[in-house]
């Protein structure tokens, strides 16, 4: 394993020291491993809290700031944070207007956030709402499974719900916007390599030279199927077609993200974006906004994911609103 770390045990603590040093506009609670905005939540503003395992950076810590999250709880690598972290963060960020928990749909994340909310309900009068993101079309959605994973749409949701909160919408309205984004967003990913969890010390799975995994998530887990490596045009087709089969994106403006999983150079993401756009154009889908880069990653995994969000005037307006975070910034 080759990593720029001191040890697998200290990687999270060390990186939080780096985050605190690099970003004076953030405040890091090193004991509870929570990243906050330095300024407390404005009175009356709904607070947004998210969190998850480490290894997906910039998600979530990189999205704390004006126009997006109020705090992010960091778990161990690929392991959701714990309920006490969510409780502590909920107490700190609440300004009286309530807190929205943004949870990616993994059993661990869901249970830990659930327990955190239970503790908050027992200990405080804080109003907590929850949105569970489950946008990954690679996973069959069935009542007999843990359901779809939360992947790329999480980024768009945190941006858009963050803008709604910043505008002064109340908890019910912010939650409704968040749910709308989740219901209107779909993602699909591909890996050209696995990734190496520091504590595991070797890649989670092995991919031969001529192979790729279609339908991977963001934890280096194996995907739905292994297929021969193909050119960018064909890979784009394999990612976009299942998305379009799952939801009708015609007749509305869309927001499209081509997201790198960590080990893929930007130039390849732009090549993929070009191919995605060709397919969408042929399908008569209007792309109103684009995002190309590393936003929700899986450590050093090579590959990418495509997310398409069916938007409307309100979502576009919220998307365009100013945002000022380490990972996403415009208009401010």
């Amino acid at each position: 394993m080759k990593k720029l770390i001191n040890s697998p045990e200290t990687v999270l603590a060390d990186s939080l020291i780096g985050v605190a040093a690099a970003h004076p506009e953030l405040r890091v609670d090193h004991v509870n491993r929570i990243i906050y905005r330095t300024d407390p939540t404005r009175a009356g503003k709904v607070a947004l809290l998210s969190g998850g395992g480490t290894g997906h950076e910039p998600l979530h810590g990189g999205f704390v700031g004006v126009g997006m999250l109020d705090a992010a709880c960091a778990g161990a690598v690929f392991t959701s944070p714990t309920p006490d972290q969510m409780l502590e963060a909920t107490k700190v960020v609440d300004s009286g207007a309530g807190v929205l928990h943004i949870v990616k749909n993994y059993t661990g994340d869901v249970m830990n956030f659930e327990m955190g909310a239970e503790l908050a309900a027992a200990e405080t009068g804080i109003e907590v709402a929850v949105v569970v993101v489950n946008d990954d079309v690679a996973v069959e959605d069935s009542t007999f499974t843990a359901g779809r994973r939360g992947v790329g749409t999480t980024v768009l949701l945190e941006k858009i719900a963050g803008a709604a909160a910043e505008e002064g919408r109340d908890l019910a309205a912010v939650t409704a916007v968040a749910r709308q984004v989740n219901e209107s967003g779909r993602s699909m990913g591909v890996a050209l390599s696995s990734c190496t969890v520091p504590a595991a010390g070797k890649p989670t799975f092995e991919l031969a030279e001529g192979e790729m995994e279609i339908g991977v998530g963001i934890h280096g887990e194996p995907g739905r199927r292994r297929v021969p490596l193909a050119g960018a045009a064909e890979v784009a087709r394999l990612l976009v077609e299942p998305i379009l089969a799952d939801l009708d994106f015609t007749g509305a403006p869309t927001i499209v993200m081509v997201n790198g999983l960590g080990g893929t150079p930007l130039i390849e993401l732009y090549v993929m974006y070009a191919e995605v756009r060709k397919i969408l154009e042929a399908a008569g889908i209007t792309v109103a906004r684009s995002l190309v880069g590393n936003y929700i990653t899986a450590l050093d995994m090579a590959g990418c994911s495509v997310t398409i969000l069916k938007a409307d005037e309100d979502l576009l307006h919220l998307w365009d609103a100013p945002v000022n975070t380490a990972g996403l910034r415009w208009g401010i």
């Binding site: 309920p83 249970m111 739905r224």
Partner: protein, 214 residues
Amino acid sequence: MTNDTISLDQLTGWLTRFRDLVTEQVSYLTELDSAIGDADHGSNMTRGMDAVLEKIQASPVVAVDELFKGVGMTLVTSVGGASGPLYGTFFLRIGTSAGPVSTLDAPGLAAALRAGLGGVVARGKAEAGDKTMFDVLAPALDAFDADLVVFSDISSAARAAYSAAQAGRDATAPLIARKGRASYLGERSIGHIDPGAASTSLLFQALAEILDKE
């Protein structure tokens, strides 16, 4: 020699032995989780059990409920992931069921473990055959109870539970996962032992070993 009770010391010994076993098997657990999960079950369990042992050594307890509530809370606050809430709730419920006693008799232990299982189900909604730790916990407790009826020996019951646990663990291999991360794999989860089932089997190995010592 037959044993009727398990003492606070033995219960602490159980947890210590479990810590040692997950530490010994850390790579194996992570390997299993690499195949159908995200390669962190080994480090999750060792991080949690190290924290548990640290806590036990730092603040000695006098009652069984105190012990297991502490263990449960420590796991809940130090592990995260799926195993943190599940193992955490398991031990929390054991504590609540056991109450402020300093030893547990065999039926008391059986009841406590079953309460723990109830906690796991309440949290995770797993059913038999979902390919989770449930598939070890449930048959192990059934075997514990059945053995107890026949032999009235807590050590013998624990050995029976461990046997059933191993069988339950191995029986997860052919299953299609329906809960947790492995469920994303669908049919590709077939042929792999569930990592949580494997760690839960170690929990019964630890119990059997500690009770055999006497």
